[in-house]
């Protein structure tokens, strides 16, 4: 089963049927879904904003017939309200993970707020997916501090540091077994080196769909397939690993 570990949705697009058709055309059967509106993470202090967005992504998952695996998002500096919203989303709406974009929200990963959020994610057994690249606030080394402090929480590195910081993502993934690397945006050679040198149970395919249009998801998949890693590794990266991590598609995380 091919599962895209990094995609964005809103209700309008999912109701049109176009987005589901796009990823099905690429052979993707399920996809992790984040809200589209991450830019507005700039504004803490309006926790109800996140509740509205999180209810929307939960509804996206329902409308998709279970093909979209919903992740919630919050502004961690909303403190107790952010934690309450995560707990509500997971317990009431079937949210399966937390998506954070610190460079949009302009918050650090080394704060007490992020520590409490990471602890809660571990308690609820949901992973934290960070947008992770060169930008301030979201480098692999910054996220690694959380991974070290919270070994019971899984941290997904979206873009794995992108094409500047991926060697650091590689280094921290080799140190911390609770770090999972996502391939979206990485160049072909970087993907090859990560697969050769890191635990292939902790590398997942992601596209950042629908950014760049439907062909972008094809391009992201082909960068993996072009390597001809072999059927077992390809199966894990293209869906098996994220299925196991999230307990979807019949997979169980042992």
């Amino acid at each position: 089963m091919i599962i895209d570990a990094h995609a964005h949705f809103d209700l309008r697009s999912i109701r049109s049927g176009g987005t589901v058709a796009d990823f099905e055309r690429n052979g993707v059967e399920m996809t992790v879904g984040f809200v589209m509106d991450l830019i507005s993470e700039r504004e803490p202090g309006v926790p109800e904003h996140w509740t509205r967005l999180n209810k929307e992504i939960a509804e996206v998952a329902r409308v998709s017939g279970g093909k979209v695996i919903p992740f919630c998002t919050v502004h961690p500096e909303d403190g107790d309200a952010a934690l309450a919203e995560i707990r509500r989303s997971v317990c009431e709406d079937g949210i399966r993970g937390i998506k954070l974009q610190p460079y949009s929200g302009l918050y650090l990963t080394c704060t007490e707020s992020l520590a409490r959020l990471s602890a809660l994610a571990g308690e609820l057994s949901v992973p934290v997916f960070f947008h992770c690249c060169f930008q301030p606030y979201v480098t692999p080394a910054q996220i690694a501090f959380l991974a070290k402090a919270f070994p019971g929480t899984t941290f997904l590195l979206g873009h794995s540091g992108w094409n500047n910081e991926w060697p650091v993502a590689k280094a921290v993934a080799r140190r911390f077994s609770n770090i999972v690397l996502c391939t979206s945006g990485l160049n072909f050679g970087a993907i090859g080196e990560l697969v050769r040198t890191c635990d292939t149970d902790r590398i997942v395919f992601g596209s950042d769909f629908p950014c760049g249009g439907a062909h972008s998801e094809w391009y992201e998949m082909e960068k993996i397939r072009e390597h001809r890693f072999g059927a077992e590794i390809e199966r894990k990266i293209l869906g098996g690993n994220i299925a196991r991590l999230l307990g979807v598609g019949g997979a169980v995380d042992e």
Binding site: C133, N163, E165, G185, F188, G189, D208, G212, H215, E220
Partner: protein, 251 residues
């Protein structure tokens, strides 16, 4: 129909990139790529410039109809860099490859100027890695290009080593520098490539793969998926580069 020319490929044996000229030619043959512009790899870009340039000189002498070479010269070597660049250009290389983040300087540092001026004297072009803060960013590359209007610059990856293709696009517009061209290698959001074509002009976008860090097949295929007609596609995949290299148009 224009040749298909890959404007940026590495040969040599480095920490991360490994490719022989023969492996490269095999890939080109399989994909119908007529020519490639080659440069050294990794540590040979950073420090072992002479070793890297010798490999490239040897390759272009052995395959003169298929390979064009760019030299490397770390500007921190000062006069030695200038002498090495002159040696490589005199031996038949066609310009300079800059990776300021590997070489450890700001891309628009004034110590680059003598090297660029030497490239101008040899009627060559410059290929510049872009998208790695702080050293090698689009606006700074355009500043360097603006100081050297007689030299053509190709902005490698159009800032997309991270999310800086927006910088590249805006830097290309304001002011619209006639001597800066954009390579869309590694751009994952394929619609962004259309933004370059439609905002900067079809004559400004140039196919390059960054092989072996990029897949030549995928970088070529993604351009074909943009939905452009043969005229536009042909300009991007080779026509524009033919002009930069001073080749007569067509196969």
């Amino acid at each position: 129909m224009s040749r298909i020319i890959d404007a940026h490929v590495h040969i040599g044996s480095g920490r991360r990139k490994n490719q022989t000229p023969e492996q490269l030619l095999g890939a080109m043959d399989a994909l119908g790529v007529d020519m490639a512009v080659i440069c050294p790899v990794d540590e040979q870009i950073a420090v072992d410039n002479v070793q890297g340039n010798d490999l490239v000189i040897d390759a272009v002498h052995r395959y003169p109809d298929r390979l064009v070479g760019l030299a490397v010269a770390n500007p921190w070597y000062g006069q030695r860099a200038l002498a090495e660049l002159e040696r490589a250009l005199a031996a038949g290389l066609r310009g300079l490859k800059i990776n300021a983040s590997l070489q450890g300087h700001w891309v628009d540092d004034e110590m680059m100027d003598p090297l660029i001026d030497l490239v101008r004297q040899y009627n060559g072009h410059v290929y510049v890695h872009s998208g790695t803060p702080d050293y090698s960013m689009p606006f700074e590359i355009c500043e360097l290009a603006d100081r050297h209007p007689q030299v053509n610059f190709i902005m490698g990856h159009s800032g997309n080593i991270d999310v800086f293709w927006v910088h590249a696009l805006e830097a290309g517009k304001k002011p619209r520098l006639q001597n800066v061209f954009f390579d869309p290698s590694h751009i994952s959001f394929l619609d962004e490539i259309k933004d370059f074509v439609e905002n900067l002009g079809v004559d400004k976008v140039i196919f390059a793969s960054d092989s072996p860090a990029g897949s030549m097949r995928l970088e070529l295929e993604k351009l074909r998926m943009l939905g452009y007609g043969e005229d536009i596609l042909s300009a991007i995949t080779g026509g524009n580069m033919e002009r930069i290299l001073g080749l007569s148009p067509g196969r």
